[in-house]
Symmetry: C2
Subunit: 326 residues, 2 copies
């Protein structure tokens, strides 16, 4: 679409040299945040009528912007778990970035979707999910929890509560990730908080007390959310008790394992997750303990058909993608 | 974190050669979708106990997966507008991919956030937004519309409707993008569809009739959504009429310009968007006419403080990011 010219060739060379040099820094500089005023002074005007050109843009990035971004691959960067990439995963990101592919549908990107499904199948097997399970990668744990809860409410609304216009509710630990409360706000649903135990873990006793105290609210609960790896302390809720509570309420059971559920792959830790095999959905973040180079969340559903019904967008120009597609 | 070794060096060389070769294909092969059974047969087992190693993974990608993904940079690929990347933007994606940066907060990635803010400021200026405007890049037009409507409902709920537990409602053209209806489903809100005119455009007359017919529902409308570039035909709604309708209802005015609003940069097309300067928020997709290499949406708010209040997640480990941050 855009013809190659001498300028592009020079830029290609400069970019590849920069990327290679950056990959080979061992360690990279930690770097630090810089004030907006200082960045403005150093960067100057970058969006101009004529454009500053690729080489100047690369220079601004190298000299001004990159040193103002903490290197998440620095060996002493332990905060916020934004990423824990291996070199192989960063390298492969270059391959994907150069390949102009789109993984939003089988029709457009069957090879990429196949690879995603293989990874999701591996996760589903680790959790003991049935062969019919399936899922999707979304932009992060927050989007994953939101998507799962939207599917859960859809299941609730389309079965016993077809004409129920009351606000739905989610039963979750007070120690659940902030994104569960954010998802409920987005959805106009309530979070009914279950008190965690002394260390911050959701237990069967606490769920028992919470259910006994629900009264008429029991009928509004469309999901029970348990956490497999709380952000502050890495605690794993009693997932079997969460599954029991959901079954008793006729609700969906979602496990937020964004932070901790990659430990399913460790035989020593596997027993902590007993009950995960009874979940209706779970999320785990590949950019944490699965070493992906960029934030995302793997979202796995026991019955993907329910999620598909909840999330499919309908439009003339999309029919070719949704007709008969798995 | 992961020490470099000879194997990594070999892989680096192979990856860079592959990426460079791919970038220099002119044109690249169009490629096509392949059945799951055939992909499984060709790819074999890729997730194994010992791992297949980086070079074998690259080989599977090159030989099996990449040819099963349509090249979105092929000059005759016109469908679905998943991307319309320039070579410069694809090249820069390599730089960013190699740099292990995280742009989720100023503290962690001030240089990247600064660059994002410059781009958002440029878009805000094109729309005639005030100096106080600001925004964020999200994962796509659907996420952008959802985020804006959540902010709109938050504004509605926290002003005149603090104790209003009824379902909120959005006034939008019947020709609005499917993601507006999807956002409303996620939010447990209703879409009150306004009939478009013969060609599919939302007009002042149609909005007048719709408002007159609202009755008691008028009080539930928290947003009016207009489209700047419908997906099927590229039509731009009467944005000034949309702004008038929102003002009359005391509602938020959101413009979904995912597909068309990049044309703000074209003086010849600018008059079609008269009224955009009165919007409370708009989205435009950089991977369409702004030539970014990967799906995303630029979401710009007139008053970012409202959006911040609607979307900020609260947690102990996040306080360091939200204290006093712009």
């Amino acid at each position: 679409m855009h013809r190659r010219d001498r300028e592009t060739e020079v830029l290609t060379e400069a970019v590849v040299r920069y990327a290679l040099d950056r990959l080979q820094l061992d360690p990279p500089p930690l770097d630090t945040s810089v004030s907006e005023a200082e960045l403005r002074r150093r960067a100057g005007a970058t969006i101009t009528a004529g454009g500053i050109g690729g080489e100047a843009a690369l220079q601004v990035f190298a000299d001004v912007l990159a040193p103002a971004c903490i290197s998440t691959d620095h060996p002493r960067f332990f905060s916020f778990v934004p990423a824990a990439a291996t070199e192989a995963s960063v390298l492969f990101d270059l391959v994907v970035g150069a390949s102009a592919l789109y993984a939003g549908s089988w029709l457009e990107g069957s090879g990429a979707v196949f690879a995603e499904n293989e990874a999701l199948r591996w996760l589903a097997d680790l959790a003991g999910f049935p062969a019919s399970a399936g899922g999707v990668f979304v932009s992060g744990g927050s989007a994953g929890n939101l998507s799962a809860l939207v599917a859960a409410r859809h299941a609730w609304r389309t079965t016993d509560h077809r004409h129920d216009t009351r606000r739905g509710a989610v039963l979750a630990s007070a120690a659940a990730h902030s994104s569960v409360r954010a998802a409920a706000r987005v959805m106009d649903a309530d979070v009914l908080a279950v008190e965690a135990d002394d260390v911050g873990r959701l237990t069967g006793d606490a769920l028992r007390r919470a259910i006994d105290g629900l009264g008429a609210d029991a009928d509004r609960v469309f999901a029970v959310v348990a956490t497999a790896g709380t952000t502050n302390a890495g605690l794993v809720d009693d997932l079997a008790a969460g599954a029991d509570a959901a079954a008793e309420l006729g609700a969906w059971f979602h496990v937020d394992g964004a932070y901790g559920l990659a430990a399913l792959a460790a035989p020593s830790a596997r027993p902590r997750f007993a009950g995960i095999e009874r979940a209706d959905s779970f999320v785990v973040d590949p950019h944490k303990w699965l070493f992906a180079p960029f934030d995302c969340a793997a979202l796995v559903y026991r019955e993907p058909a329910v999620a598909r019904a909840a999330h499919t967008q309908h439009a003339e120009y999309l029919e070719v993608l949704t007709e008969g597609q798995a």
